[in-house]
Symmetry: C2
Subunit: 255 residues, 2 copies
Amino acid sequence: TIFVITPTYARLVQKAELTRLSQTFLHVPQLHWIVVEDSPHKTPLVSDLLVKSGLTYTHLHMPTAKDRKLQENDPSWLKPRGVEQRNEGLRWLREDRRAQPGGDNQQGVVYFADDDNTYSLQIFEEMRSTERVSVWPVGLVGGMKYERPVIEGGKVVRFHTGWRPSRPFPMDMAGFAVSLKLVLANPESCFDGEAPMGFLESSFLQGLVTMDELEPKADNCSKVLVWHTRTEKPKMKREEALQAQGLGSDRAVEV
Amino acid sequence: TIFVITPTYARLVQKAELTRLSQTFLHVPQLHWIVVEDSPHKTPLVSDLLVKSGLTYTHLHMPTAKDRKLQENDPSWLKPRGVEQRNEGLRWLREDRRAQPGGDNQQGVVYFADDDNTYSLQIFEEMRSTERVSVWPVGLVGGMKYERPVIEGGKVVRFHTGWRPSRPFPMDMAGFAVSLKLVLANPESCFDGEAPMGFLESSFLQGLVTMDELEPKADNCSKVLVWHTRTEKPKMKREEALQAQGLGSDRAVEV
Ligand SMILES: O=c1ccn([C@@H]2O[C@H](COP(=O)(O)OP(=O)(O)O)[C@@H](O)[C@H]2O)c(=O)[nH]1
Ligand SMILES: O=c1ccn([C@@H]2O[C@H](COP(=O)(O)OP(=O)(O)O)[C@@H](O)[C@H]2O)c(=O)[nH]1
Ligand SMILES: [Mn+2]
Ligand SMILES: [Mn+2]
């Protein structure tokens, strides 16, 4: 099973994002979607979408602590997003798996999939064989066409990245998967929301693996099979003008 | 069969967009994807993607006339996009269908699906029963939460839109489908690239149908089942800096 952990938060494009993401996952055999809402409670929008998705899923929620939450007009790099949600997904997964037969020796893979990225179906086949931590390129991330581990003799020797290649693991969240075994064997490993910018992935991976142990996928990291796409925030100028006249869109219609 | 006509053009996010779109369509039975590249020739990126998609498709190309093409820094509303490509899709469809048995009386539906929108699977089931022209709401379009036809007594009586509701058909491209019969019975109907802003959909529909004949779908136009999402243009600052040093991403890697 591939356990996919997805943080998500309420915004205009949320339903659209989760809709197309669920369509992607519906093509992937043996996928368990762990959706963690950044919210003090589960919302009906996400609950309904999950029920109707046809996927195997777990629906969780965990609000980002107020002082850690990105505000409306903050630049997007100011604070890491989705941290408490990914950690909540890990907490649930560890607890749930402890209740299963097989103890710490269960087959499975854990992947962190943000709700706005684009995933080829092949990337899920690549990650299925993860022994410890597997890695591959990510397209359109970090101001680059792609970032990727550079492979020599079948091993990761350095990273192609536009910024601080000396970070322990200068990789985007979308560029690695971890075996369930390793996650269970390290019950305290999680993401550090206080990590400096660009070090969030490293904060999790540092305790789990060394660069030497990374398993290159996607044809020795030569293929881009996942893209760090971002969706534009829709303009609502006309909506606001009409609302001021009492002629706005019906709030009862879910978008 | 649902014939889906999609204009597409080369840009950084093109492969990501077409990847997730193809995953959506792969869930839809009896769908024929007509992909029309805005290009003087078919590109290997799109050709390969289509071959691997598992979909029934036709791959066409038609470059936008130079004086009609939106330039790098033009605002996106300056010129309509995808016009010549949609018309080329219509031309191919009419020609191809003429060669099939059944003449002008063939079952089928034609839908214009831009490559960056988000489509629920249900919208395809809704449009399957189109007799002439069916209509439904579109989310996140025109500066509004949604635009939609307003229904009274099962008929469209006006439109909820943020701008010039008096246009003949003030609807987005994603908000209607046309029966194949009607397309074949009107062999000259196409989109007018010279239509004033906001009148492109009207230029096509005006010759085909009256407001009174429109068939409301999506529970009397009360549900949003398609979203006019747009994908951010990725920043390439680091890439350009590295390229200047000869350390840019490998051009041979397709993104
Ligand atoms: O306040 C927030 C902002 C983002 N996210 C989620 O965290 C992940 C990463 O956020 P985003 O995609 O905005 O980051 P970026 O694209 O800038 O890396 C996504 O799954 C979001 O849905 C969240 O849970 N709460
Ligand atoms: O120069 C261009 C720009 C756009 N398009 C296509 O035309 C459609 C509409 O363009 P876009 O999504 O950019 O328009 P908007 O989102 O602003 O309505 C999409 O399928 C694009 O891929 C195109 O063929 N050539
Ligand atoms: Mn993102
Ligand atoms: Mn668009």
